[in-house]
């Protein structure tokens, strides 16, 4: 197969993965999905590319200030198929983040659309300064 661009770029990773890698019992590859994080007036928004992951395969957890996203990829490629050209491999996605206390954990919301996860991390309302009464002795 010829490619009109990057014709000379070697594909040096395809030979390292056995073809049966996607089997149910075999080891599965794990990828670090690319993310965007930007700030809004309400907090932070995180986007992650999880191609091949649907809502059933997505596991998003917040535990002990750690946000962990795991996406399981389902492949429907027939076993008889022969790979002619391979640029990406089948595998699952995993990435985790430490959240600060300024993120309101209870209001975190997530949505998965077309293989892209969007997570809203709202800022916790700033606590009003509390006056501590000092009782005279």
């Amino acid at each position: 197969m010829a490619e009109s661009q990057d014709l000379n770029q070697p594909d040096n990773s395809s030979s390292m993965i056995p073809a049966s890698e996607d089997g149910a019992n075999g080891p599965r590859l794990l990828f670090n999905p690319p993310i965007d994080i930007y700030e809004t007036p309400d907090g932070l928004v995180l986007y992650a590319d999880l191609p091949g992951v649907d809502s059933e395969g997505l596991d998003l957890q917040v535990q002990n200030n750690r946000l962990t996203l795991f996406g399981r990829v389902t492949s429907d490629v027939a076993e008889s198929a022969q790979m002619l050209h391979q640029e990406y491999h089948f595998g699952d996605f995993l990435r985790s983040f430490i959240l600060s206390d300024e993120v309101d954990h209870d209001r975190i919301q997530a949505k998965l659309t077309n293989g892209v996860l969007r997570v809203e991390l709202p800022r916790a309302p700033r606590a009003n300064p509390r006056r501590i009464e000092v009782s005279g002795g």
Partner: protein, 147 residues
């Protein structure tokens, strides 16, 4: 060993930068490179008995924005992936995902029955099925002897 660092010195969510690094991250970088620095989208081409199947990882595209064409033995897929509307350039804390126009042009190894082609987009993966054209009978070419 953190791979990515925050740019801004002031960060109210400063603890978020302490991203948990996984053992596998280093393996990912050496084996597969940093994903965003590679071609977008990544494609695989498979051959089945009666068809070729091209799959491409293009998460976050509106189906209406996907352009798939077949001409002269080349399959071209193109589109544009836009950053979120409300995100301004100076509000990004981290930007690893690809944004912008993209195009891939792939030459197919055999003749295609163009009437039977179909494309599906699901969970951010484009899948183009290209049935092989029925192979024509081999034709003998007569070799003329020179004078």
């Amino acid at each position: 060993m953190p791979i990515f660092r925050w740019g801004q010195p002031w960060d109210p969510f400063r603890d978020l930068e302490r991203e948990v690094d996984r053992l596998l991250q280093g393996v990912n970088l050496t084996l597969h490179g940093v994903r965003f620095s590679r071609r977008f989208p990544q494609v695989n081409l498979l051959e089945l008995d009666d068809s070729f199947v091209l799959t491409a990882e293009i998460p976050g595209i509106d189906v209406g924005q996907l352009d798939v064409t077949m001409a002269s033995g080349f399959l071209t897929i193109k589109g544009t992936r836009l950053p979120p509307d409300e995100a301004r350039e100076d509000t990004f804390r981290r930007q690893e995902r690809f944004h912008g126009p993209w195009q891939r042009k792939i030459q197919l190894p055999d003749r295609i029955n163009e009437d039977g082609m179909r494309a599906d987009y699901r969970a951010g993966v484009l899948r183009v099925t290209l049935p092989k054209a029925p192979s024509s009978a081999a034709r003998q070419i007569k070799v003329n002897e020179g004078p």
